[in-house]
């Protein structure tokens, strides 16, 4: 009996890794340029479809497809930021919200047009069902891998932020855009790079999502909510907090599902609301909102 609960918590933690990957890009974009990207969920789904196309055209393993999909999404991110989103940034928060909402509608309908509304899945062969036994628990290799990737991605982003010239540029622009310009930083370019990095992470999240569950063009909104909840539970501007937020959300969902299968999503949202009520700035905030 206890083992079942331990199992639910462990599975939820691993699921949290995927949510943290959904959220990392959102967190990064908001942190660097205060842009709330409503299209983020649809970009995850777009990455999943791109992965599906690469896998079916080239016949390679989905994890190998990352080699193509990550740079494709990153390039798309850079162009999107420079051509569209940079124009919306300013003192007013509303224009970027409206434009990314519009982008979300465009992406969903574009995907519907190209790939139809039928649910799809990326086939990863034995990786989908392989499992290992640890201390009496049966753990899927895919969820374990997902969690490990989430750890690696967040560690990597953290490293970039605090130990590279690019990271200092991100933080300088985030701190004071005008002064950063006077230090020789071209903020349009820096924002482009931030979006490229964010969508590179999104590509990883999309492909892991596509291997884990079936997807269709309409599921972006749900992924966006999970991502938002993870970011806000963890606290704005703190990437390790975002991972913690993802884990809390994942655990709440699996425990909810354990009580009653219909409660999975509801339990996650309730956990989010409770944390928001107790700590409105999240658990480990770095930016005061």
């Amino acid at each position: 009996m206890t083992m079942e609960w331990v199992n639910a918590i462990v599975q939820g933690t691993l699921l949290g890794g995927l949510y943290a990957l959904f959220a990392a890009g959102l967190s990064l974009i908001f942190g660097v340029m205060r842009l709330v990207n409503i299209a983020h969920g649809d970009l995850i789904v777009m990455a999943a479809y791109l992965g599906l196309t690469v896998v079916s055209v080239l016949g390679i393993h989905p994890l190998l497809a990352l080699v193509l999909v990550v740079p494709l999404m990153a390039g798309f991110g850079y162009v999107l930021q420079r051509a569209v989103l940079n124009r919306t940034l300013g003192d007013d928060l509303l224009p970027p919200l409206l434009v990314t909402f519009g982008l979300s509608v465009i992406l969903q309908n574009g995907l519907l047009e190209v790939y139809s509304a039928d649910p799809q899945k990326i086939n990863a062969g034995v990786l989908e069902t392989a499992s290992v036994s640890v201390a009496g628990l049966s753990l899927g290799v895919l969820p374990l891998l997902t969690f490990a990737v989430a750890l690696a991605v967040i560690w990597g982003l953290q490293w970039v932020f605090y130990h590279t010239a690019l990271g200092r540029a991100f933080r300088a622009v985030s701190d004071n855009q005008d002064i950063a310009q006077l230090m020789g930083l071209n903020r349009r370019h820096i924002f482009g790079l931030a979006m490229a990095l964010a969508l590179g992470v999104t590509a990883i999240a999309g492909i892991l999502l596509g291997i884990r569950t079936s997807f269709d063009p309409s599921i972006g909104g749900g992924r966006l909510i999970f991502g938002f909840e993870a970011v806000i539970i963890g606290g704005l501007g703190n990437l390790w907090g975002t991972l913690a937020g993802g884990v809390i959300l994942g655990v709440a969902q699996t425990i909810g599902a354990k009580i009653d299968p219909g409660w999975q999503l509801l339990a996650g949202h309730i956990a989010f609301l409770v944390i928001l009520a107790i700590r409105p700035n999240g658990l480990f905030p770095r930016i005061s909102a």
Binding site: A165, R168, A169, R171, A172, S174, D175, N176, D178, I179, A180, Q181, L182, M183, G184, L185, N186, R187
Partner: protein
């Protein structure tokens, strides 16, 4: 002699308020130019026009032989301009060293060890080395002013623009800052310095211009300018209500 910086008939107004009115002057390479004038005369706006934060209604800015009037602030900075702010504006969530590194990597274009070496040298020169790992947000006023100077110097400027960097400092602090600025000038950096603390300014600059209502009203040898009746009147006015 060709001018290193040439301000050519710059005009900028916000509605009926003119911050630069047909403003022209030149700066020679290696020269230190002082700028004085009453509050609201358009001195800081003039810096904004030179660095590219503001764009003029008309007129040109020529820097190091190039017309930079259409260039953005980031490009002008990389071309060799750096400034300090009257109200210090550090990247407050970053350490003093990281603040310096932003300038050294982005503005001066240095990488890795070379950037670190420059930052350490400049931090030593500005006496900020002991504070290198402190968060910029927690510094005192003098330290913030020194950080402004540090960051500007890490950009390896050919032209350094100082905006009231001596204001609000004690006599002793001011003296040591003046010495630092003299050393920078002696190393060949051209300087434009806006300052109300006139004795600090006179210890460094070769030439003085006076600005009022966006217009240049006097220019010349510092002592002669300070003695002129026009400046006496303006400065007595300032001191009376300061």
């Amino acid at each position: 002699m060709t001018a290193f910086l040439q301000i050519d008939r710059l005009t900028k107004s916000f509605g009926s308020i003119s911050v630069a009115d047909d403003l022209s002057y030149e700066l020679r390479k290696g020269e230190a130019l002082g700028v004085i004038g009453p509050n609201g005369a358009g001195k800081t706006s003039m810096f904004n026009l030179i660095t590219g934060t503001l764009s003029p209604n008309s007129g040109r800015v020529l820097f190091d032989g190039h017309d930079v009037t259409r260039l953005g602030a980031a490009a002008r900075c990389r071309a060799g301009m750096a400034r300090s702010f009257q109200v210090p504006q550090p990247f407050s969530g970053m350490t003093v060293f990281e603040n310096a590194m932003v300038a050294a990597t982005q503005a001066a274009g240095l990488r890795g060890k070379a950037a670190e070496r420059l930052c350490l040298e400049v931090l030593e020169q500005t006496q900020m080395l002991p504070k290198a790992n402190a968060l910029a947000g927690g510094l005192t006023l003098l330290e913030r002013k020194r950080l402004e100077l540090t960051r500007a110097l890490c950009a390896k400027p050919k032209l350094l623009m100082l905006d009231e960097i001596a204001g609000g400092l004690t006599e002793g602090e001011c003296r040591s800052l003046v010495q630092t600025i003299k050393d920078i000038h002696a190393s060949g950096v051209s300087i434009i310095w806006i300052e109300h603390v006139v004795h600090a300014l006179l210890a460094v600059v070769d030439r003085l211009i006076v600005i009022d209502f966006g217009k240049k009203i006097a220019e010349g040898e510092p002592k002669a300018i300070m003695a002129s009746p026009q400046v006496q009147e303006i400065y007595l006015g300032i001191e009376a209500d300061a």
